[in-house]
């Protein structure tokens, strides 16, 4: 709601440019915002998961269940469930109404990542080390998704397809309904580290260990798979330093791609995805950044620091509008020659003025309907609210 009152040139920028907050609650290794952008889940190296509220920037819930570092986190679309996987070989599904783990899965081996079905938070995919990827159904049955060892599994935003990537650079598309591989293509010879798909389902980016991020335009998935071809539109790489990319993320519209880099580069790179140029390098802190996430609703980019485990946040800085402080202040670009209005000093009796005002108030006023989208074009709705446990100050020491 506040966006429509802010200076549009400052508030509607595509990406934030300066670090505004650093949050130091334990050693964070994985960060993920919920759909509404009002809660941040931070996975710690101790296995604890913290839920951080975006308004107060403080921890509102502590989820204890894992005993080894968090490997991945995924929010359900409705915001009620959180899926976590950890290096203790377990996946937990948390119900945030009670903040308890309601489903527990032991995969007896290391987990790469796990992700909810965007259509149904009772189902999720999981990719395992040296094992076939699995699909977990609502009745807790686990089926093998693909007879191949893969490093990454991710859902297409439609929820009907799953994309996987192997250590040989092979990308597969699996139909969720039939659990069969319907398309295969090799895009590189090295292992695939991340696959991301933009929220409109049109663009895909593949981060592989050959230090290149490949951008692919996805075909129309309603057509015959035989006709599909993943054409690599662009390869993002740092030609000079040959940086390895840690984590990648699309912007809400898919118009920008961000990446954090391995090693000595402490910055976040932002590319434009239709012209492929490097748009901006966000100045980072004095340490390597590992995981990045982008809060589309509030336009915040956050990243975890490798050594300190601190969460760094880049957000928009909107300058105070001075004209907001008094209704008769106006901000102008240049001087205006003042022209006295014809009726400016006319004496009109107050009663007449008031009556005129009252007579003009005949328009229909709708106090109920909300705008469907906010000024950034995101859908406005009240998300799930995590219950607050008042009176229990959450200790963030030794976590």
């Amino acid at each position: 709601m506040n966006l429509s009152l802010l200076d549009p040139f400052a508030a509607l920028k595509e990406y934030p440019e300066s670090i505004t907050h650093t949050l130091s609650f334990g050693h964070s290794v994985f960060v993920k915002y919920n759909q509404q952008g009002d809660y941040l889940a931070s996975g710690l190296s101790s296995g604890t998961i913290l839920i951080i509220d975006n308004d107060t920037k403080s921890v509102i819930r502590k989820l204890i269940g894992h005993v080894r570092p968090i490997q991945s986190l995924c929010w359900s679309k409705c915001g009620t469930y959180l899926l976590s996987s950890s290096r203790d070989w377990k996946c937990l599904v948390w119900d945030l109404r009670t903040c308890k783990a309601v489903r527990k899965f032991d995969f007896s081996g290391p987990i790469w990542n796990s992700e909810f079905n965007p259509k149904d938070p009772q189902e999720f995919v999981v990719s395992l080390y040296d094992n076939f990827p699995k699909y977990v159904k609502s009745d807790n049955t686990i089926q093998t998704l693909q007879e191949d060892t893969v490093l990454v599994t991710t859902f297409h935003p439609s929820g009907d397809y799953i994309v996987t990537g192997t250590n040989k650079g092979l990308i597969s598309v699996i139909s969720r309904e039939s659990s069969t591989v319907i398309f295969n293509q090799k895009v590189t010879n090295s292992s695939i580290k991340n696959i991301i798909i933009s929220s409109n389902g049109e663009k895909m980016a593949i981060n592989s260990s050959d230090r290149i991020i490949r951008q692919v335009t996805l075909p129309d998935f309603n057509t015959e798979p035989k006709l599909w071809h993943f054409e690599v539109e662009n390869k993002y790489q740092d030609v000079v330093n040959r940086l390895q990319w840690n984590s990648i993320m699309f912007s809400a519209s898919g118009d920008y791609l961000i990446a954090s880099a391995f090693g000595s580069a402490h910055n976040i790179y932002i590319w434009e995805t239709s012209q492929f140029f490097l748009n901006k390098i966000l100045e980072g802190p004095k340490e390597e950044l590992v995981d990045v996430d982008w809060n589309y609703k509030k336009c915040i980019i956050c990243a975890t620091g490798m050594d300190s485990g601190v969460i760094y946040m880049w957000s928009l800085v909107v300058p105070q509008k001075w004209s907001a402080l008094a209704p008769d202040f106006v901000e102008i670009e240049e001087n205006i020659d003042y022209q006295e209005k014809e009726d400016e000093f006319d004496i009109v009796p107050d009663d007449e003025l008031n009556q005129k005002q009252l007579d003009e108030e005949d328009e229909y006023i709708d106090i109920i309907s909300k705008e469907r989208t906010d000024a950034r074009g995101n859908v406005q709705e009240k998300g799930f609210v995590i219950p607050i446990e008042y009176g229990q100050t959450i200790s963030t020491d030794n976590i």
Partner: protein
């Protein structure tokens, strides 16, 4: 079925405070009424049967000015002349946190929709934002040049509106604390103190009460008053107002003559007068079809909306 009476009286009760009654609020789950008083206490009643006193919350050292329910209906925030903000556990009746920071009487309090942020306004002319969980002051907004009488948050809690005796209504960005807009009604040459402010359900309009006996509906985006509601006596006290989602939207406000006046929002005509008593009705609150009104002497009346007037379709909130 349509009858002439808009609201039917369900019961009349007494708050029983040993002092002036200042505020009354219905819990979001519809189970309780909480009332605050200058006798330093807060009393909890059963909404079904207002004479059933459930609990008395004691702890403030001076008069309690305002209260606000948390979204879970299990906690209550209260502000007082003792300059503190307190959060209470309603089930156990104990105070779980005391927040200090204001330098003069705290006059109004509101929870955000998530229940983790509290906004208070004070006679020290500042608005403070508090982390309700860690009992910490997050921000102090130097907002006005006279005491602040009321604060409200829009439905997604991103904007705070404040009403002050300096005659201004200000809108603040919850996240940054910046002033977004200032509204003044000064057509008559000088502006009257603003005693109450309330966001419309969709957050696009503001209903203000000024001590010139007038309620105004502001289209704040365009700095324009779009409706003026007259006929109430409002010169001295902060009498609260509400939007009522009846078949046609209505506006209700307490008055200093002991009535609750109800206007039709579109036509601005008074369509009902609920006689509460002869002393100022400081607090009214609405939850679905229930309306409560409390005067300064502690007369607490509960009304039900006549079925012929109800029938607001909540589906309309989500469509254009």
């Amino acid at each position: 079925m349509t009858t002439d009476t808009l609201y039917n009286l369900r019961y009349k009760a007494q708050t029983g405070h040993n002092g002036y009654s200042t505020s009354a609020k219905i819990s979001p789950n519809g189970a309780y009424i909480a009332t605050s008083s200058s006798d330093c206490t807060i009393r909890l009643f059963d909404l079904e049967n207002g004479s059933k006193l459930i609990r008395v919350l004691e702890g403030h050292r001076d008069g309690v000015n305002d209260i606000s329910w948390s979204p879970d209906s299990r906690h209550l925030a209260s502000v007082s002349d003792d300059m503190t903000l307190r959060v209470w556990d309603v089930e156990y009746g104990e105070c779980i946190s005391v927040m200090q920071g204001h330098t003069y009487h705290v006059t109004c309090v509101e929870f955000n929709h998530k229940g983790n942020l509290l906004v208070t306004g004070s006679s020290d002319e500042a608005i403070r934002l508090w982390d309700a969980l860690n009992a910490k002051c997050l921000k102090t907004l130097s907002a006005h040049s006279d005491p602040i009488a009321a604060v409200d948050l829009c439905w997604d809690s991103t904007i705070i509106a404040s009403a002050s005796y300096d005659g201004m209504i200000r809108l603040f960005d919850t996240e940054s604390g910046q002033c977004l807009k200032t509204l003044i009604y000064d057509k008559g040459g000088s502006s009257f103190p603003v005693s109450y402010v309330r966001f419309s359900p969709n957050g696009k309009y503001l209903l203000s009460t000024t001590l010139d006996n007038t309620l105004r509906l502001w289209d704040y985006m365009n700095n324009k008053v779009v409706k003026t509601f007259q006929g109430a006596k409002l010169e001295k006290y902060t009498c609260s107002s509400r939007f009522i989602m009846a078949k046609d939207p209505l506006i209700a406000s307490g008055t200093e003559t002991g009535d609750v006046l109800i206007w039709d929002l579109q036509s601005k005509g008074i369509i009902a007068t609920l006689k509460v008593s002869t002393s100022p009705v400081l607090a009214i609150d609405v939850l679905n079809n229930t309306l409560i009104a409390m005067d300064i002497q502690g007369n607490l009346l509960c009304y039900d909306l006549n079925e012929g007037f109800s029938g607001y379709d909540s589906e309309r909130t989500d469509t254009n």
